[in-house]
């Protein structure tokens, strides 16, 4: 036996109450973790963006397009030193007519340079060769291919809200992610297929040879700001001006509309901690009130006020920590084990990586301990300062 025996035994003195409190704390930690995971999931792509890639888009909006000839200027080292490679893409927006998946990201990209610049996606050389030789060839992420039930060699028909009609493709390859944040739910097909198909009809009002954005790989990431300025300066006097930014900034710009939601998640997660505090404070206050007489006995037989304070604080922190650990365990099983993979497979365009990271677990446990300390401190001070004779008189 040691001085920790008493607070440890007290933990399950009112077993039902303690178990309910532990469940409540575990659930609040789970909710906290889910909210923080959503926040992390939204931003993880940007946080893990390549530092040596720049994105160039139309200065007005991503929805406005740039002339394809800009890519030649960007690739000219005499005009723009420091750029190793550049590629481009157009947003297509994919929909499955059979509705096996409500929506997925589909791009029309340059088949000669796309995977050279976007090297977090691994494609077999044979697939790349097939892509170069197949006008309507498409390469899909492994998860999307599984969802759509297609394999290499299959025909695939998709639709788009931007480009009407049925678009027929041949699956020539499956890409695998080399980075955990790479979207495994995307499809990429040849830009020239889109460009030519749009202008099969001579009456088409869509301008020819337009691209959505350019991705450039640079030699030295420390010069990204300088190179970005040079790119934009080069197109400053043209009809379509550009804005160039790091890949991180480019990805964050897509989250602009969701920033209010993300901020709300953060505030709600703090509110969850407050709820945990109220639950635990109530439990600790009830326990201390019930044991006032007992603390009087301990004081009478020689335990100093500091011991009483520590007994109460120890118990409060122990409950909080146990509840926090249960919550973390629950998160690992539910989010990282079940919900995360499901979301990544079905909502990969929004959450390519939906797992609770270690720092969120750490934050949740620290939060639980802090809540334990705060919830215990007031009853602990009250009980330790109470006169021994008053405590001994108290019978609940």
């Amino acid at each position: 036996m040691n001085v920790a025996t008493y607070p440890t035994r007290n933990l399950f003195r009112r077993r039902g109450r303690t178990i309910l409190t532990l469940i409540a704390i575990a659930l609040t930690v789970l909710i906290f973790n889910v909210l923080r995971t959503c926040d992390h999931g939204w931003q993880v792509g940007a946080e893990e963006a390549a530092k040596d890639r720049l994105a160039t888009r139309h200065k007005v909006s991503i929805t406005m397009q740039l002339p394809k000839r800009y890519i030649d200027d960007l690739r000219d080292p005499a005009k723009l030193p420091g750029i190793k490679a550049a590629t481009w893409a157009n947003w297509f927006g994919g929909k499955d007519p059979r509705e096996r998946v409500p929506f997925f990201a589909a791009f029309a990209a340059d088949h000669l340079s796309w995977f050279e610049v976007m090297d977090e996606m691994k494609v077999e050389p044979a697939a790349l060769d097939a892509w170069k030789q197949t006008n309507n060839g498409a390469i899909l992420g492994d998860v999307l291919a599984k969802t759509l039930g297609v394999k290499v060699g299959d025909d695939l028909t998709i639709t788009s809200d931007i480009y009407p009609g049925d678009w027929k493709f041949k699956v020539v390859g499956i890409y695998m992610p080399l980075r955990k944040t790479a979207d495994r739910n995307s499809m990429v097909f040849r830009w020239d297929y889109l460009n030519n198909k749009l202008h099969e009809n001579p009456q088409s009002a869509t301008p020819k040879d337009q691209i959505g954005w350019v991705m450039s790989r640079i030699d030295d990431p420390s010069k990204s700001a300088e190179i970005s300025r040079s790119i934009d300066k080069m197109f400053d006097e043209r009809d379509d001006q550009t804005v160039t930014m790091s890949e991180r900034a480019f990805q964050l710009s897509f989250l602009g509309g969701a920033s209010a939601i993300i901020n709300a998640f953060k505030w709600v997660s703090l509110g969850i901690l407050l709820i945990m505090l109220l639950i635990l404070a109530n439990t600790v206050a009830m326990s201390v009130r019930e044991r006032t007489h007992e603390y009087g006995v301990l004081r009478a037989i020689g335990f100093s006020p500091r011991y009483v304070f520590n007994f109460i604080m120890g118990e409060a922190v122990l409950v909080a920590l146990l509840g926090g650990l249960a919550g973390v365990l629950l998160t690992m099983v539910l989010i990282n084990g079940v919900v995360g993979p499901f979301i990544e497979e079905n909502m990969g365009a929004f959450f390519p990586y939906f797992r609770t990271p270690m720092h969120v677990f750490g934050l949740a446990l620290i939060g639980a301990v802090v809540v334990g300390v705060i919830s215990g401190v007031v009853p602990a001070i009250g009980a330790s300062r109470r006169k021994v004779t008053d405590a001994l008189r108290r019978v609940d």
Partner: protein, 267 residues
């Protein structure tokens, strides 16, 4: 009006012989605790408890209630004293002051060589752990701890090793005749057994004084007799000074000295 110990019926106990102590404590576990931090006794002369002109006043709102008034008390070391009196006469308050749980409004309190009125709360707590053994009416055992763990509680405040603590706990429980109930929880014991565990807890630290507040109040006659017999044994064989508050005349009869308190004064 206050009266000192002159009014008491005297039946003092003498210091027990080494042979008698050895019989009660065959393992010699009641050697003084080797604690260099023990609160040092001060040579004062007189009894182990010496209260001089103490008064205690409580306030109900602004109205003062004088519970004890200019009370003197001198308790010789090794005596077994009973304090009787009607409810509200100040018995428990007097006991609390002797035990260092409460402070008088005025007057001086010297117990076992220490001037309690000059000690801080922290010093008092330490002093209590070394000097006083408590026996309460409602036993006050910790329900989540076994009998042995309840007895061990005061020893956690000493520098004794775990093995030494276990030995002392075993001896204390043997003294009260409960060595076979060490692993029982309070709910598994009868009232009399609970009180005997409480007495073991009170003596395990080898205190000089045992204060008992209605120790037989919650017990049937047979259990009360057993507890009183045990207290007599502690007094006679281990030389403990016992100061007991009781309503029970039969319990008071077992004490060597009987005092009566009424309206804050000893009669």
């Amino acid at each position: 009006m206050s009266v000192s110990s002159v009014s008491s019926e005297s039946n003092e106990s003498s210091e027990p012989s080494a042979e008698t102590k050895a019989k009660a404590d065959p393992d010699g576990a009641y050697r003084p605790i080797p604690d260099a931090d023990r609160v040092p006794p001060r040579a004062l002369g007189g009894g182990i408890v010496k209260l001089t002109s103490i008064a205690k006043t409580f306030y109900r709102g602004k109205e003062p209630i004088h519970v004890l008034e200019r009370l003197d008390l001198d308790v010789p070391e090794g005596s077994f004293e009973a304090l009787m009196g009607p409810s509200g006469s100040g018995k428990s308050t007097l006991l609390n002051i002797i035990a260092g749980l409460d402070r008088p409004t005025s007057g001086t309190v010297h117990v076992a060589g220490a001037d309690l009125t000059r000690m801080s709360d922290g010093e008092l707590a330490k002093w209590r752990s070394q000097t006083i053994g408590f026996v309460f009416q409602s036993f006050n055992l910790i329900p989540v701890l076994t009998a042995a763990q309840n007895v061990e509680l005061p020893l956690l405040l000493t520098p004794l090793s775990g093995a030494d603590r276990k030995k002392r706990v075993a001896t204390a429980l043997r003294v009260v005749g409960l060595e076979d109930r060490m692993e029982h929880y309070p709910r598994q014991l009868s009232g009399g057994q609970e009180q005997r565990v409480a007495i073991a807890r009170a003596i395990v630290n080898d205190p000089k004084i045992i204060v008992a507040d209605e120790p037989t109040g919650d017990l049937d006659r047979k259990s009360a007799d057993d507890v009183l017999t045990l207290m007599e044994k502690l007094n006679k064989e281990l030389g403990k000074t016992i100061f007991m508050v009781t309503h029970d005349p039969a319990a008071a009869e077992r004490a060597g000295v009987r005092r009566k308190l009424d309206k804050g004064a000893l009669l």
